[in-house]
Amino acid sequence: MQIKKMIVKSQSILKWVSMQNRPEIELKLTSDPMYLCGARELVGCIARRIGFDDMECSKISLAVDEALCNIIRHGYNKAFNKPIWIGITPIKPTSEYIGGIEITIEDEAKQVDPKVMKGRNLEDIKPGGLGVHIISEVMDEVRYEKRDPVGMRLVMIKRATRTEESPRLSGQQSLCIKSHSHSTSHTSS
């Protein structure tokens, strides 16, 4: 009886731990380009709520769009009925950052060595091959991993730092932020 209770308790602890590691927002979509706009809207909306300015939200949405396009085009070879999962977790503020966003994109596509996921030389102007470069340019951290048992996982992080002039408007606390890697600033209430 005691052992049974311990098993149940450890199972609920495991479930709790597993829940803690899950993104706070999860979206599953099929690999149809028609749904790219929905994914962009969702990510942009959450990023805006976290405190990124319009330009940064647009760039974060672009990074997600590029990642999804790469999966559809290269991972799934333009098969439009394969699964893709997007996970979004806001990053809590620290003394250095006012917050940020972590976005995880997973698929069941063919696995590739994460080391080969590099942007091409931009001096060579030609159509295509810009997605990986855009993602690494926009996001602060980018990590490609093989997913167990199949597919790939892309983890992207973007942080926002507080600027020196954090004004207060109409008695409400306002956020004046800039992204970690760029100097754009914005005020919102």
């Binding site: 028609m34 790219l36 319009d54 647009s58 672009l62 769009d65 590029e66 295509g128 810009l130 855009i134």
Partner: protein, 117 residues
């Protein structure tokens, strides 16, 4: 009198002889760039000496849209056609800058400027 027609999301106008203006009316992403590519190819014939792409209604473009325009620019070079982009929104321009393609294209502020260039 400008000759005007449209595909499902691209307005096509011929304001003067040899000049074609293409104006996509929505964001250009992977789902729409093939249509833009097709229309550009159709319009870039030997009678056209200038192709203007008016991006006033385009608030978002991804790398598939960029790739379409890079391909168009290359083909324009081969056929002695001038390709000019106008009315670009700051968010779209940012994508050109990230890809370091902003200096590759002729980009002007207005359609009139693009036509008279």
């Amino acid at each position: 009198m400008a000759n005007q027609q449209s595909s499902s999301f691209i307005e096509i106008e011929r304001p003067e002889q040899g000049v074609v203006v293409l104006a996509p009316s929505a964001d250009v992403d992977m789902s729409r760039s093939p249509e833009l590519r097709t229309v550009i190819r159709q319009e870039m014939d030997s009678t056209v000496h200038k192709l203007v792409v008016d991006l006033e209604e385009v608030h978002y473009m991804d790398s598939s849209g960029l790739a379409t325009l890079v391909e168009a620019m290359r083909n324009a070079g081969k056929s002695d056609t001038k390709l000019v982009i106008c009315n670009m929104h700051p968010k779209v321009r940012a994508i050109f800058e990230i890809a370091r393609l902003d200096s590759f294209f002729s980009i002007v502020d207005s359609r009139d400027e693009a036509i008279s260039l």
